[in-house]
């Protein structure tokens, strides 16, 4: 049998997904199972004691609250900034569109550590933002921005912004431009057109972008480490500390699994929502 014929005899789906399955299985699934096993194993074999201990601790709930609050705020901020940007991008033509696309995608090639340090400089008391606020007369002294939750949200939103813009942009691009026009000829004001036509039809893009940004900001480690520090713990930074500083693999595994559970449920819920909304189109 020739190579080509043999390749043809393998179901195409299996052949095409094999590299991905191998890669994910070896480098992701195996460590994950180890992590999961580690979090459920005590001195006497299987136990849920680490979870019970963790969840009965008020501090844990504070950390979970921090994690979800920051992730939600970052998602909302990227949506508020990203949706108008996606509209401008989808309306741009020619070189303007290229410039905008590059300026959205290029920052992705700058490492997160570099960006986080950059925001440290921008947000510091004599940084650009502080200076501007003083110059505008709104503040007498530059307000504390670095090492605050607000600073963290702003910095993280900047890093994750492309992941909100691009899915919305791709859905906007598929939107028939005649639909808002049809709404206009039916007597709908610009606001009514947006809320009743454009927004509902681009919801799948918002859901996808939201899922990206939320799952990335729920698990971010470097950005909070640099922009807010140790005083403020999220599940991700707690996991990192457990492994790196406290050398408590049990605690680290448990918080990691908790974080994973949250991320996975967000992704699943978003996918289900997107499918329902997407099915409407």
């Amino acid at each position: 049998m020739s190579v080509a014929a043999r390749l043809r005899s393998i179901p195409a789906g299996a052949a095409l997904t094999a590299p991905a399955i191998l890669y994910l299985g070896l480098l992701y699934l195996v460590p994950l199972v180890w992590l999961l096993a580690r979090s459920f194993s005590g001195p006497d074999g299987f136990t849920i004691e680490p979870y019970a201990a963790l969840l009965s601790d008020g501090f844990t709930w504070q950390v979970i609250g921090n994690t979800l609050r920051i992730a939600t705020l970052v998602t909302l901020l990227t949506l508020a900034v990203g949706y108008p940007a996606a509209i401008v991008l989808s309306r741009a033509r020619g070189w303007m569109q290229v410039v905008l696309l590059v300026s959205i995608i290029l920052p992705l090639s700058v490492g997160i550590v570099v960006k986080a340090f950059a925001w440290q400089i921008v947000l510091s008391r004599n940084g650009v933002v502080g200076q501007l606020l003083v110059a505008s007369g709104l503040f007498e002294h530059a307000p504390q921005l670095l090492f605050t939750e607000a600073g963290l949200v702003v910095g993280a939103a900047n890093v994750f912004l492309p992941f909100m813009i691009l899915p919305i942009y791709s859905v906007l691009n598929l939107l028939d431009p005649r639909l808002p026009e049809a709404a206009a000829t039916l007597g709908a004001s610009p606001l009514y057109r947006f809320t009743r036509v454009t927004l509902p039809l681009t919801l799948p893009g918002i859901v996808a972008g939201g899922a990206f940004v939320f799952s990335m900001s729920v698990s971010m480690y470097v950005i909070p480490s640099l922009l807010i520090g140790d005083r403020f713990q999220t599940l991700a930074t707690l996991t990192g500390r457990s492994f790196l500083f406290m050398r408590n693999e049990q605690l680290g595994s448990t918080t990691a699994v908790l974080l994973l559970a949250i991320s996975v449920s967000v992704i699943l819920a978003a996918t289900a929502l997107a499918r329902r909304l997407g099915g409407m189109r």
Binding site: R178, A183, L186
Partner: protein, 366 residues
């Protein structure tokens, strides 16, 4: 052109004057004037790129004209945004809202104007009944056939009670049979509602079937505005002659004019036409194929040889060649018995049916 002046009556419901538009350095609309009376159904007929859709979008307010004015029902709407114009549009691809049901689509214009649900419900039901979709109210629009989608689009556009309805090639996505049904259906609906309508199409048959008047457009101008009979029988320009219906066209030279009758020398012989061209003028002569008789009963005659006979069911098409090779097209009810390919016969047509145009514009428009 005789186009605009003919009907700019004092009671114009829609009055477009000097509408012009260029995209970059390409002029698309070249100062178009058009007046439409209340309740009238006017078609804009022309090939793609003639500016008919551009004119429609300017009237709808979806496109800003470079110059000119649009007045509707006594009000200057040139600068009015589309949602305050009371001009409904049925789009070429219907542009139904895919996330809404049939009834919600139809109700859209009413809710956009703040009409209460209870009140709009009755109007929506009435319109769905009018277009024959009462049973489909709660269906999603995605599952509908092309004809049903079009009915929804018409009902949706009519729901807010627009002063003017614009239809942009609404039949182009339908197959031939359905198209003919929908044309008659749409005529009935619009007659019932009594809406003034402008209809954009590149299909001459559609325009002839649907319209009270037709504006034949070419290169951003209206070439001929008139009732369908006029457009077909007395096309004002060679472009209209060619674009609407079939015709035989030959060039010739005027040999003399007297009492409104010009004698034109052509390759077929000398024919008469109602005009007063100067002697020696180069002209083009046109005749509609069904106006040519297969015998010598009329004044204008020519000897030709049968090249092909095509039976088409309700009628037959006969292709003849003249001695110099020019083609002559004749439409008859049937292929005459006893006439076979290669036979030479004499054809004739009346002076009244002989169309005559200056030769230069004939070449330019071709």
């Amino acid at each position: 052109m005789n186009a605009a002046s003919e009907t700019s009556s004092a009671r114009a419901f829609l009055e477009i004057s000097g509408a012009g538009k260029s995209f970059g350095s390409t002029p698309v609309l070249d100062g178009v004037d058009l007046s439409i009376a209340s309740g009238e159904f006017v078609s804009l007929l022309g090939p793609s790129g003639c500016g008919k859709t551009t004119l429609l979008r300017i009237v709808a307010g979806l496109l800003k004209a470079d110059g000119g004015q649009v007045r509707l029902d006594g009000r200057d709407i040139t600068a009015v945004p589309p949602h305050r114009r009371d001009v409904g549009v049925v789009f070429q691809n219907y542009a139904l809202f895919p996330h809404l049901t049939v009834a919600e689509n139809v109700a859209f214009g009413l809710s956009a104007r703040g009409v209460a649900k209870a009140e709009s419900g009755a109007a929506v039901a009435r319109l769905l009944g009018l277009v024959g979709l009462a049973a489909m109210a709660d269906r999603s629009v995605r599952g509908l056939s092309g004809g049903q989608q079009q009915r929804v689009a018409v009902a949706r556009a009519l729901a807010p009670g627009p002063k003017l309805l614009l239809l942009d090639e609404p039949f182009s996505a339908l197959d031939r049979k359905l198209r003919e049904t929908m044309q008659i259906e749409l005529r009935r609906i619009l007659r019932e509602v009594g809406t003034t309508a402008i209809f954009v199409t590149h299909d001459q048959d559609e325009a002839l079937v649907m319209s009270d008047r037709i504006a034949v457009m070419n290169r951003g101008r209206i070439e001929h505005l008139g009732v369908p009979q006029d457009i077909y029988r007395r096309p004002a320009t060679p472009f209209t002659l060619d674009f609407v219906g079939l015709s035989t066209r030959v060039s010739g030279t005027v040999r003399g004019s007297r009492d409104g009758l010009s004698l034109v020398e052509t390759a077929f012989g000398t024919v008469g036409a109602r005009s007063s061209y100067l002697e020696g003028s180069p002209v083009a002569i046109g005749v509609r194929p069904e106006r040519i008789a297969l015998d010598a009963r009329h004044e204008n005659r020519m000897r030709v040889r049968l090249a092909d006979a095509i039976f088409q069911g309700a009628k037959a098409q006969l292709h003849f060649h003249a001695a110099n090779g020019d083609r002559v097209l004749v439409e008859a009810l049937d292929v005459p018995t006893g006439l076979s390919r290669g036979d030479e016969i004499e054809l004739s047509f009346a002076v009244e049916d002989t169309l005559i145009y200056p030769a230069q514009t004939a070449g330019e428009a071709a």
